[in-house]
């Protein structure tokens, strides 16, 4: 065709670039490159590392001898691994339940009519979730110091014996970590549930009231089922985030006293980056990746369903 032969290289380029498949390719190319470079290759690498016996001080990682599943056996038979996993799940359970209950209570409270300054109050509540985690950790560290304000208030209310050595007793230290997480992330639950409540249609509630339903019945049989999709999303996302907990523990207790407050992330960090046992850390990372992939495969099902709607 004559006009193709006559077109300049610039025109040819612009014709090429405007073809639909080229257009699509250029749109996703940067993401694909990034995914391969920073995610897929390292993921393959972590699987390899988990199968060899290697520590940085032993020299070149490509020369490391194979250990096959030795690292996995070592991790899975290490009582500390199970201890740390259990502790992390306990933190997730208490923190997320408390965040959900408190967030729900706050959402119901601020959904009431006749509350002046509602916007101001709801805005004030939001800021903790914007703060850097390390700062939240440090804030709670200051509050729970032996001579800090929390102990002062306890002494004033309950007498001189009420002061607690918060960071020296493992259960108390875990409690303060959970409390810091609850303080920071209750706003997240609150915001989701509050906007969820605000978006609910009013007719079913009004109809039920006309029929003489009590407030509790309305809440349990109408509000709660209608909010269910939102609640599930909020719980799943928060639980996955909380499971990664690292910053708060690192700042508040450093895993101490001893190793009694270590979370799973902190344990892997210590094993790999402080003690240099990268192969063991790699095995733990692979186990973690597999189990979270399985869990989210099931947890994410309601989310996908919702997306199709």
């Amino acid at each position: 065709m004559a006009n193709i032969a006559l077109s300049s290289p610039g025109q040819r380029l612009s014709r090429w670039i405007n073809q639909e498949h080229v257009f699509k390719l250029i749109l996703v190319a940067p993401l694909q490159v990034l995914m391969w470079a920073i995610l897929i290759v390292p993921t393959l690498l972590v699987i390899y590392l988990s199968l060899v016996r290697w520590e940085p001080i032993l020299g070149d990682w490509t020369q490391a001898p194979f250990n096959w599943f030795g690292n996995y056996v070592k991790v899975l038979t290490d009582p500390r691994f199970w201890e740390v996993l259990g502790r992390t799940l306990v933190i997730v359970f208490f923190a997320v339940s408390l965040e959900f209950l408190l967030g729900f209570a706050l959402a119901l409270f601020f959904s009431q009519d006749r509350l002046p300054g509602k916007r101001l109050f709801t805005s004030i509540i939001l800021y903790p979730m914007m703060l850097p985690w390390v700062v939240v950790g440090f804030t709670f560290y200051l509050l729970f110091l032996d001579r800090g304000p929390v102990n002062y208030v306890l002494i004033q209310l309950l007498g001189p014996g009420a002061a607690q050595p918060w960071f020296k007793e493992p259960p108390l230290a875990i409690g303060t970590i959970i409390l810091a997480d609850v303080w920071q992330w209750t706003p997240f639950m609150f915001l989701i549930l509050y906007s969820g409540l605000g978006a609910l249609p009013r007719e079913p509630v009004e109809a039920a009231m006309t029929l003489g339903a009590t407030r509790w019945q309305i809440f349990r049989l109408i509000t709660l089922p209608m909010l269910k999709p939102v609640i599930i999303i909020a719980l799943v996302i928060r639980a996955l985030e909380c499971f990664k907990i690292f910053d708060l523990v690192y700042i508040m207790t450093g895993g101490g006293p001893g190793t009694s407050t270590e979370s799973l992330s902190l344990f892997i960090y210590r094993t790999g980056f402080v003690y240099g046992q990268l192969s063991l850390a790699a095995a733990m990372a692979v186990l973690l990746l597999i189990s979270i992939a399985v869990v989210t495969r099931f947890a994410i099902r309601p989310l996908e369903y919702r997306e199709e709607v």
Partner: protein, 315 residues
């Protein structure tokens, strides 16, 4: 911008003139409870703010007071000039480092990573939204970067950064450099960027784009002159949200920097970990580290939920 989080059904003013005394008491009680709740959320940071203005003698004073008796800004100036401390703080110099390098690093790393993350996420989101490129797999795959604990990726990335990359591309240093953190932050926030911008793009009616294509506009022209201006607000919100994520990120910064590229959260951890009573400057640093993200957060209040839930919940 005083955008509030949610639009709430406002009370009709018709009901107001006939409020009974009982209703007034009820409103007053609710107001008191609301104030109490606000105080609970404000107090921890107010306490830190208070300590940041207190001289060392008041840090652990009994009974503790929220308002410093002799307020001073020495704790703040100390952060930037620890060699020349002011007044009484001189006693506690200990392990103090100047915080300026960390702030400069964060002020470079967070915005640069954010901009690239949003651009890459926006382009990919457009492909997913309009052509379903990658089917369900690609969007799901990006999510994994947020579901898995970052420490699981940190193990191979350390080997990757310190051994693999240098042998493939000699001279490219990624460990303890700003570039290394920037690349990582782009990769680990792009999922948020993709999902957030996808929602905004989905909101642009296709027929506008199709009309322009019928008029002879190219795909690229449509994308940049029609779609992009329509989602500008959404992109701004996404940018600020990603900025919050990159500014506050701690674990990668802790592992992949040592000396030259440390960021503000790592600096906070250095201060928090310093032995000795050092609370004033520590608190001052906590306040300074929080300011940028709290400002960013309030600017995009309406979009916070969308961001944190990958756009699964929208307002």
């Amino acid at each position: 911008m005083a955008e509030t989080a949610v639009t709430t059904p406002t009370v009709t003013s018709v009901a107001r003139p006939r409020l009974s005394a009982r209703a007034w008491v009820g409103t007053l009680l609710r107001l008191l409870v609301a104030v109490g709740i606000a105080i609970v959320f404000l107090l921890p940071v107010l306490w830190m703010l208070s300590i940041s203005f207190k001289p060392p003698t008041e840090w652990l004073e009994y009974p503790p007071t929220l308002i410093p008796k002799e307020p001073l800004i020495g704790n703040y100036t100390f952060l930037f000039n620890p060699g020349n401390p002011e007044g009484a703080i001189a006693v506690m110099t200990g392990a103090a480092e100047p915080v300026m390098p960390a702030f400069i690093n964060s002020l470079i790393i967070a915005p640069v990573a954010t901009v690239f993350s949003v651009i890459i996420g926006f382009l990919a989101a457009y492909a997913v939204s309009r052509f379903r490129v990658g089917g369900n797999f690609m969007p799901f795959f990006t999510l994994t970067t947020r579901m898995f604990p970052p420490v699981a990726f940190a193990v191979p990335l350390l080997v990757y950064y310190s051994a693999v990359i240098p042998s493939v591309i000699p001279g490219l240093r990624l460990y303890d450099t700003r570039l290394g953190l920037i690349l990582m932050y782009i990769a680990f926030t792009v999922a948020f960027a993709l999902w957030m911008t996808k929602g905004f793009i989905d909101g642009v009616p296709r027929h506008i784009e199709e009309a322009a294509i019928l008029d002879g506009a190219s795909r690229w022209r449509v994308l940049f002159t029609i779609t992009l201006p329509l989602v500008r607000g959404g992109l701004a919100a996404t940018t600020l949200f990603i900025f919050i994520l990159t500014w506050t990120e701690f674990l990668f910064a802790l592992i992949f920097t040592q000396r030259y590229a440390i960021t503000v959260p790592v600096q906070v951890s250095h201060y928090a970990g310093a032995i000795g009573r050092f609370y004033g400057p520590q608190a001052a640093l906590g306040i300074l580290a929080s300011l940028p993200v709290v400002i960013a957060g309030y600017l995009i209040q309406r979009h916070l939920v969308t961001g944190f839930t990958f756009g699964l919940i929208r307002e």
